[in-house]
């Protein structure tokens, strides 16, 4: 059997598998692809995950198909050990391989760059300010709600500088308004992960990591620490709420009153805090 026949067979198998797999992904998996559509950030990530799954699955299947085909078709037959046919380069194959992979990488780079350059509160944006640091590529328009996420072993607390700097144990957000998270830590490295919101940003002592999102639905979302941070890391879990605007106004007003005694002792709002940990031990 000549090599052309082998290639034709392998390609046919691969194309059939790829079409079937992409159809399954497109119709069965894509509607349930995490993190969902709770916010514009989450929707954007879901869309990107779907695109990547549709592109990368055929590539992965191509590798596996060739591997399995080679195992079956080119296995050592019974009998004396013989040298295989000499290997020669195939310029068309090489050019095709380099061309296809280069195209895929460039397309994905363009998609990623467009994502990062879009406004954080655009319907399909929110790529910028994904917790990469204090200097985001593009700023949201309007008046975002600033929420500071303060991590410490082993709990998150939240400050609302536009509401008198009140700090709370629970995280509440208004629906439809862009939120600007400023994530920092008072001790070890943590990671603020609001799963359904599609927000994940490292919480690092002395660092201010900014992330944006716009909640699009009222309801609950999960908050976890995504960085192994010590004994009770696994317990660093809570639920946040997205309220209608009026409900959020009521909630924050209540928090301001209830937490007023503690607010009196809070340091002036800053993007990072230096609580002199070496002096605190003991």
């Amino acid at each position: 059997m000549d090599s052309r026949t082998d290639i034709t067979r392998a390609v046919i198998v691969w194309v059939v598998l790829a079409i079937v797999a992409d159809l399954l992904i497109g119709f069965l998996l894509a509607p349930h692809m995490p993190p969902g559509h709770f916010s514009n950030t989450a929707s954007d990530q879901t869309e990107i995950n779907n695109i990547l799954a549709l592109i990368l699955t055929p590539i992965g299947l191509g590798v596996v198909t060739f591997f399995v085909y080679a195992l079956v078709s080119f296995r050592q037959p019974a009998g004396p050990l013989e040298d295989g046919p000499p290997m020669r380069g195939d310029a068309r194959m090489q050019i095709g391989w380099v061309g296809v992979t280069t195209t895929i990488v460039i397309v994905l780079a363009i998609v990623g760059t467009i994502e990062l350059l879009q406004s954080p509160n655009s319907a399909s944006g929110a790529g910028a300010g994904g917790g990469q640091g204090a200097s985001v590529i593009s700023q949201p328009s309007g008046n975002p709600l600033e929420v500071q996420v303060i991590a410490q072993q082993w709990q998150f607390t939240y400050r609302y500088p536009q509401y008198g700097g009140v700090e709370t144990f629970s995280l509440a957000l208004p629906v439809g308004r862009t939120v600007e998270f400023h994530v920092t830590s008072l001790d070890a490295i943590h990671s603020f992960w609001a799963y359904q919101l599609g927000v994940k940003a490292d919480a690092v002592p002395g660092a201010d990591n900014v992330a944006f999102t716009t909640p699009e639905h009222v309801g609950l979302f999960e908050v976890r620490c995504a960085e192994l941070c010590g004994l009770w890391h696994g317990y660093m879990y809570s639920r946040g709420h997205v309220f209608p605007a009026a409900g959020f106004a009521k909630w924050i007003a209540h928090a301001q009153v209830a937490n007023a005694p503690a607010t009196h002792y809070l340091p002036k709002y800053a993007h990072v805090y230096y609580p002199l940990p070496l002096q605190r031990g003991g």
Partner: protein, 239 residues
């Protein structure tokens, strides 16, 4: 006969078991032995973790109220870690037990009395200076009701995140006389008394911890007793 090239590739020799090669049965035996060793190591770790946990100390309850009396000490004073900061709890017989795993009835009021013998080290997050999740929103410190504690005066916190309970514990002055160094500490020694109540709620297992990095001598105060169940953190078993 199948042939295979020798090392130099110059001549061919019969294919089969080479001199010095490992037989199939020996390889299977090695794999099984390795698996058994790994399983034993994992089992040893798990068993070691389980038996290293302190005992569960049930708390006496009457008329829907469970009284829990604990003491917070700067140094345990005994092996294996005499210089570690720790909690102790009174059992139903009134004896002090070195444990941070306590059992309380569900849907009861838990009345906690903390005898606090450690000094002031301050709160890393001043927000925790306000007691929360407790009945009435106030704690009693040496007979005086407080809605908030100056964060600089705190020594530890008693916090059950699942239940929303967080209470700052005031520390004794650095120059206080007759400070306790070996547990159990007595009422004659320098201490503060903090009392508060919370509702135990439904049955469940809730971790509690101190939120002050109080492990003296450890990096940022976060090693040793802060990372070991039985010292500055533990469980509330609500049954």
């Amino acid at each position: 006969m199948r042939l295979t090239p020798d090392r130099a590739g110059q001549s061919m020799q019969p294919l089969g078991r080479k001199e010095g090669s490992i037989s199939r049965s020996a390889r299977i035996a090695c794999a099984l032995a390795g698996t058994v060793i790994v399983v034993l190591l994992v089992a040893w770790y798990v068993v070691g973790y389980v038996i290293s946990l302190p005992p569960t100390v049930p708390q006496a309850s009457a008329a829907g109220v469970t009284n829990v009396t604990v003491q917070t000490v700067a140094s345990y004073g005994h092996q294996p870690h005499p210089d570690w900061v720790s909690y102790l709890v009174k059992n139903e017989q009134g004896r002090w037990v070195h444990s941070t795993i306590w059992k309380v009835p569900a849907n009861s009021i838990v009345r906690v009395t903390v005898l606090q013998y450690d000094g002031q080290s301050g709160l890393r997050n001043p927000f925790l200076g306000q007691p929360r999740g407790i009945i009435g929103g106030t704690m009693t410190v040496n007979g005086k009701q407080l809605k908030v504690l100056n964060p600089d005066e705190a020594s530890h916190t008693f916090t059950i995140p699942d239940l929303g309970v967080s209470v700052p514990l005031v520390g004794i002055a650095d120059d206080a006389k007759n400070q306790c160094a070996v547990t159990p500490c007595t009422l004659a020694q320098a201490h503060d008394t903090i009392t508060f109540e919370f509702k135990s709620g439904k049955p469940g297992l809730h971790r509690w911890q101190c939120f002050v990095p109080c492990a003296a001598g450890w990096l940022y105060g976060f090693g040793g007793p802060m990372q070991t169940v039985g010292w500055m953190d533990g469980f509330i078993k609500v049954v």
